[in-house]
Symmetry: C2
Subunit: 367 residues, 2 copies
């Protein structure tokens, strides 16, 4: 869910050795973001002494796990080495054999794990299996970063719904759009580029029928080298949106009410998912293999999600300009200030002219 | 002789020598903020070799200028020394004799000036006078910082109105208050402390009759060691505010329409200033010796100021929480996004849980 770039060389060198190599493993894992669901993004590096002798990441469900690629790269040099893995190696036979066994078979001496696997099929058993084989295991190195990177997978496994990230851009007087439409973006180029990276990294992108009708957005990832498009999900209770809108590309999902007439959408080859409520709709997305959703809709959709506690994280660009009258990012509910929902794990970053503020509304599920 | 807080040793040492000593002079000047109007805040340090041998600041109008205090402190050591002054030394006889003459008489060898004086009575003549006396003069060291510190004085001299700083605190969904009143502050302790410092540093604090009626604010400076209260200015066109409100302490100013019945306010000893318009009202404040105004009013007053181009600087606390329905900082005017007013010289700072974003809407008058 989060890209973890390797820190500048000077910074990396200042980290304790375990954190230094785990940073590399997290950067490996990030290469799979948006591509692995319903599996987690996982990265692995194999280290002999001070040298990285193998590295790998899980590219997509059905393909080998990160450890397998890293061990292949290391070959005989895996013997006696230390393996850094961002998620506890699996201990069960899924579509691939257990990675714990592969590490044991390769003769690895020590395994450093960022975070335990919340999957009840693993949940500590992977670590136990390694220890039973006499391998030294360290757990918890850069755990918070890893957990954040795995938020989608964790949400899916523990809560049975995708991790929902709401994104919007507002002026310094809190307006996301002018009263007249089509008159320019709120934020600058850097913010747009970052948004495109998020589209590349999250499984789905969601808007409401209002945004679809007003903007006819493509909801694609543009300008990201090697990027891929998130799956478009349109919340349209009455199925009133134009089935010819640009968002309806291959794989697009219409979320609509059980009794809505979606004949035209079905005829256009659009995947129609029916749900009684937003929580039901989100649970339904799990069945489509979606573990994370970037909510880029307007105030109506965002307010509906928030009112039901369905937003896990927010990423807000604040643009240093004043508009005056305009649309607010949220329209409700009304509540006293002391009941405002506080963000946790807040980050602040300047991005070109804009300020990016992010934070969590829900804790990320652990084990 | 006055004590001054030097910047952290590491920071200061990394600066070129002129900037290092000018930083000290600016810190001296800052001690007069909010106290010198209609004069500027000015600081001066006298340096022999690497040693500060004198320092001073202008404490208030009618008292000696910064250079005089600094020269007094230096005594005989001023001979051959370098003087750092945040504003061009005056060349004219005002309430005190010309500081340029004092520097010449003291035998100073070199004078470093941050910014020229925009006062047409000075405006380069102070520097010329020093040069004519054979003193080496350098102009422009940390000029931007000095100009910003002198914004009120410059506005007053060049534009004939105070520098207006609008301050508000909003949630991450752009709300400054809930729909129900009296239910808690938007931002945290650190933001409140910073606001109190601004109240100490600006000449006046302004609100509208709406804020006065809703909150009955004291508009005082609290918790600032050695702090003093800004002069309260209440914009109340109809003179309908309660003359017993807490803001009406000594020196408070009612700004009202020419035909409003302010009998009750006059009877309560409140200074009544009549104006046809907001620009007139601001010009009128100059007559009261006010060079800077901290605008802490609600959306109505702020929007009125902005619509007329009367806000020079904004300081906004963004609090990482989501409210839902609530009041926006601005209510108008309506305009397309590409006509939003962009801030210049933007700064971003985290303050406890909050993010402080500041910027200028108007350039600060120079010479």
């Amino acid at each position: 869910m989060y890209e973890v770039n390797a820190p500048p060389a000077g910074v990396a060198a200042a980290l304790p050795v375990d954190e230094r190599f785990m940073t590399l493993a997290l950067a490996e894992a990030a290469r799979g973001l948006g591509r692995t669901a319903p599996n987690p993004p996982v990265g692995c590096v194999i280290v002999q002494g001070e040298d990285v002798v193998g590295r790998g990441f899980h590219p997509r469900a059905g393909e080998p796990h990160a450890e397998v690629f890293a061990l292949q790269g290391a070959g005989e040099q895996a013997r006696g080495a230390t393996a850094y893995v961002t998620l506890e190696p699996c201990s069960h036979h899924g579509r691939t054999p257990p990675c714990a066994d592969a590490l044991i078979a390769a003769g690895v001496r020590r395994v450093v794990v960022a975070a335990l696997d919340p999957n009840p099929l693993v949940a500590g058993r992977g670590v136990q299996r390694l220890r039973d084989a006499g391998i030294e295991v360290t757990v918890g190195v850069l755990e918070a970063q890893a957990v954040r990177q795995q938020a989608g997978f964790r949400s899916l496994i523990v809560r049975g719904r995708p991790w929902v990230v709401a994104k919007y851009a507002m002026t310094l007087d809190g307006k996301v759009a002018a009263l007249d439409e089509g008159n320019g973006a709120v934020s600058g180029t850097e913010a747009r580029e970052r948004t495109m990276r998020w589209r590349d990294e999250l499984d789905a992108i969601a808007v409401g029928s209002g945004t679809l009708g007003l903007d006819d957005p493509t909801l694609t990832t543009r300008g990201v080298p090697g990027g891929r498009d998130p799956r478009p999900v349109v919340f349209d209770r009455r199925a009133s949106s134009d089935p010819q809108a640009r968002a309806w590309r291959d794989g697009a999902v219409l979320v609509t009410a059980p009794d809505a007439d979606a004949t035209a959408h079905e005829a256009a080859g659009i995947t129609v998912q029916r749900a009684d409520s937003l929580p039901d709709a989100l649970s339904g997305l799990v069945g489509l293999g979606l573990s994370s959703v970037l909510l880029e809709g307007g105030p109506t959709l965002l307010s509906a999600f928030l009112a039901q506690g369905l937003v896990d994280e927010v990423r807000v660009f604040v643009s240093p300009k004043l508009l005056g009258a305009g649309l607010s990012p949220l329209t409700g509910p009304a509540r006293p200030m002391h009941e405002a929902q506080a963000l946790q794990d807040v980050t602040v970053e300047t991005l070109g002219p804009d300020v990016l503020i992010t934070g969590l509304l829900q804790g990320i599920p652990r084990v």
